[in-house]
């Protein structure tokens, strides 16, 4: 009973708090109002965190319960919770990051008049993500999935003053929607095959055409988790406020797809075809994201492409048949990516621009943020003993083992993923170093008159003064997140954690040399380029490839040509049909009736002779009819 209450409250409380928060009036007329909204938001996240901690400590068995809510024909849909230890750890990561983001947002959006709905939407989003994590039923999962999509849309478009934000929000929504169609079809497929939507029932069933259903599910995963080819929305989504980028687009929502595959892994392991597709997708995404990140000027875009790439690591781990490694990397990535985004928010807040070409020499001005960046980027690159090293190591070992062909995926998938992951290590180290050097080292860029404040974020209305470390409300969450970034990797040594995730014990053997070598190569080459030409962007070394990488390999344009333009043309054609055919038919009844009336009125205005003809002709007709009728009867 208690377990059911706490399990439901896990996602119920943030959603309720968020809905309450939506009732609060917007506007900035009084700090009391802002404080109310802030307390509501923080309380929601804190309560959810307390709930998770309690469940982790108190619950011995996985919490499973379900109540049938509705039937789609003969298929029951249950409302309930299924929280195993893995799900609880993911929920812990979600709530910690959500709490950090809520606290951070209070400081970051201190001058935003629409803070109240923002905080409420973040709460609803947290609740939806927790619903996805704890759902025991595919339809419930879908509900949470879609609510996350809506919240993402609302939050990306939060700052109405930006021209890019609404477009980015629509793009995010539509691209993920394309994936969600496949997701829904996949769920329907699996549910119908299993006779029920409960996940346990689905996992126990053996559907016909399993590969097709799983490929459809992968479409949704690709959309939500920003994998190739549906990754194009994530870099543009950086138009949203930085805390949102931290929460949604780094730590939680984009990880939801990975989590779904993790949950359904018993089905995936039976389908080598789906795993092969996933592996290829992962490898392409990994390299695509890493290469695109090397050429970006906007600090948030570097981190966005980096997220795309890192999720490629997670999906790669899934593809080679080791979901535990994927989940471990998910947890560490949540920690260090959220840290990086929040710290980047601090930099942007201090300097007033996103573009690295206008930053530099901030090490002395923002020491705490600098060290946070060092830790975060180190974890990203996989520097031992930070968390990223251990989780990335896990993924590489899993991929290496899969090349021997023992796992559920074919051996060539293992090769593809392993090679891509290795290459990715080097490239990740390169761009991480570049980011650090360009932002914090070198000379401070002079502020020129043309240096108008760029895109995004709360600080651009005021003229930035001397850069300084962010205020306490923004700094403390950052510092808090450095703790798991450093220590989470070592949790792999804890047997309790390992068994919860079903993780292999980390063994430091000769195979760690190769990634470390690549890391040193990547970081070293970036540093060397910087050293030889200080102040010059190391990305210049890319030469003519740089614009191509920076535009994300021009996949946006391909999508525009293949999808957006035909759909727009179709919409225009349909609109034309609606106006010219459907509306015209309806209006035509009116105009034709009026015209008929006018014609009849004109007939009545006939001159005398015509009237006489009409009378006699009418009499003739009537006479003939009468004669025939009389003759026949």
């Amino acid at each position: 009973m208690i377990a059911q209450v706490f399990g439901t409250a896990l996602f119920g409380v943030p959603v309720l708090v968020g809905l309450l928060g939506l009732l609060l009036p917007t506007g900035d007329s009084g700090r009391y109002r802002r404080r109310r909204a802030a307390w509501l938001g923080v309380a929601g996240a804190a309560l959810a965190l307390a709930d998770v901690v309690f469940l982790l400590l108190a619950a011995d068995d996985p919490i499973e319960y379900g109540v049938e809510v509705v039937r789609f024909g003969e298929l029951p849909v249950t409302f309930g919770v299924s929280l195993g230890p893995a799900a609880l750890y993911v929920a812990l990561a979600v709530t910690v990051v959500a709490l950090a983001v809520q606290v951070y947002s209070v400081g970051y959006l201190h001058d935003d008049s629409r803070y109240a709905p923002y905080a409420a939407q973040v709460s609803i989003f947290t609740g939806a993500m927790l619903l996805v994590v704890s759902a025991n039923d595919l339809i419930m999962l879908l509900v949470g999935w879609e609510v996350m999509g809506i919240c993402s849309y609302l939050l990306i478009g939060h700052d109405r003053r930006l021209p890019e934000a609404p477009r980015a929000a629509v793009k995010a929504f539509l691209v993920t929607r394309v994936g969600d169609v496949g997701f829904l079809l996949g769920i329907a497929f699996l549910g119908i095959s299993a006779g029920s939507f409960e996940i346990s029932a689905v996992l126990a069933s053996s559907p016909a055409h399993l590969t097709v259903a799983l490929l459809l599910i992968l479409a949704g995963v690709a959309g939500k988790s920003a994998q190739f080819p549906l990754h194009t929305w994530l870099p543009d989504a950086m138009a949203g406020p930085t805390p949102i980028s931290a929460l949604i687009h780094a730590a939680t929502m984009v990880a939801a797809g990975v989590y779904v595959v993790f949950r359904l892994f018993p089905l995936f392991s039976r389908s080598p075809g789906a795993l092969a597709v996933l592996g290829v997708m992962a490898a392409i995404t990994l390299l695509l994201g890493a290469l695109a990140a090397t050429a970006q000027d906007d600090i948030k875009r570097v981190l966005a492409w980096s997220t795309v790439s890192q999720i490629g690591y997670m999906t790669g781990a899934l593809a080679v048949g080791v979901p535990a490694a994927a989940l471990f990397h998910l947890l560490t990535h949540a920690a260090f990516k959220a840290l990086l985004f929040l710290a980047a928010g601090g930099v942007i807040h201090a300097v007033g621009t996103n573009l690295m070409s206008r930053m530099g020499g901030l090490r002395t001005h923002l020491p705490a943020t600098f060290w946070a960046f060092v830790v975060g980027l180190g974890a990203l690159a996989g520097l031992p003993p930070l968390a990223g090293f251990w989780s990335k190591e896990n993924v590489l070992v899993a991929a290496a083992h899969a090349t021997e062909g023992h796992g559920p995926a074919p051996a060539w998938v293992g090769w593809v993923v392993w090679l891509a992951a290795l290459l990715g290590v080097g490239i990740t180290a390169w761009y991480s170093t570049r980011l650090l050097l360009r932002t914090f080292f070198g000379h401070a860029r002079a502020r020129t008159e043309q240096w108008h404040v760029g895109f995004d974020d709360a600080a651009y209305e005021r003229e930035p003064g001397a850069p300084h470390d962010p205020p306490k409300l923004m700094l403390w969450p950052v510092l808090l997140l450095t703790v798991p970034t450093v220590l989470l990797g070592l949790a792999a040594f804890l047997p309790g954690f390992r068994s919860a995730l079903d993780l292999d014990a980390p063994h430091l053997e000769i195979s760690i040399v190769l990634p470390l070598l690549l890391l040193a190569l990547g970081a070293g080459s970036a540093w060397w380029l910087w050293h030889t030409a200080p102040g010059v962007d190391p990305a210049q070394a890319l030469g003519r490839l740089r614009p191509f990488f920076a535009a994300g390999f021009r996949i946006d344009e391909i999508q525009d040509r293949l999808v957006v333009r035909p759909v727009r043309a179709l919409a225009a054609a349909l609109r034309l049909v609606d106006e010219r055919v459907v509306d015209a038919a309806v209006e035509g009844t009116g105009t034709s009736t009026t015209r008929l009336g006018h014609a009849l009125a004109n007939a009545h205005r006939a001159a005398l002779p015509r009237a006489v003809v009409a009378v006699f002709a009418g009499a003739l007709v009537l006479g003939v009819v009468a004669a025939i009728y009389g003759a026949s009867s």
């Binding site: 009125a601 205005r605 001159a607 005398l608 002779p609 003809v613 006699f616």
Partner: protein, 124 residues
């Protein structure tokens, strides 16, 4: 006698009268055609008087058809009335035609304006 002959004659005269009413432009010629029509009607009345009553052998006729114990000849009476009516009609009709001629200097039926010009515009 074969009654069909005057019947058909009357029918043809009536048709000619209708043709004349619809074809002629001059109002007086229209009136002449109307006279033809009336005459045709009269002819049919008189022929009916002669033919229909004569044939009703063995049929009980209503009392009002034989007011004085002898067959009535209402057809002829009606024809007489029609002649009187025609006379009255021609008188009044020609008065109108002549009045119209005084206004318009012509008596063409297809130039008669049935409404005043401003009335037409209001009704539009």
């Amino acid at each position: 006698m074969h009654a069909v002959i005057p019947y058909v004659t009357g029918a043809l005269l009536f048709g000619l009268g209708v043709y004349g009413v619809l074809r002629r432009r001059n109002a007086i010629l229209v009136l002449m055609a109307v006279e033809l029509m009336l005459n045709a009607v009269n002819l049919i009345f008189v022929t009916a008087d002669a033919s229909v009553r004569a044939r009703l052998v063995g049929v009980q006729v209503e009392a009002w058809a034989y007011p004085n114990g002898r067959p009535a000849h209402s057809g002829g009476v009606f024809a007489l009335f029609v002649i009187v009516l025609a006379a009255a009609e021609v008188g009044v009709g020609l008065a109108i035609v002549l009045q119209y001629f005084r206004m318009r200097r012509a008596v063409h039926v297809d130039e008669i304006a049935l409404q005043h010009e401003n009335d037409e515009q209001v009704s539009r």
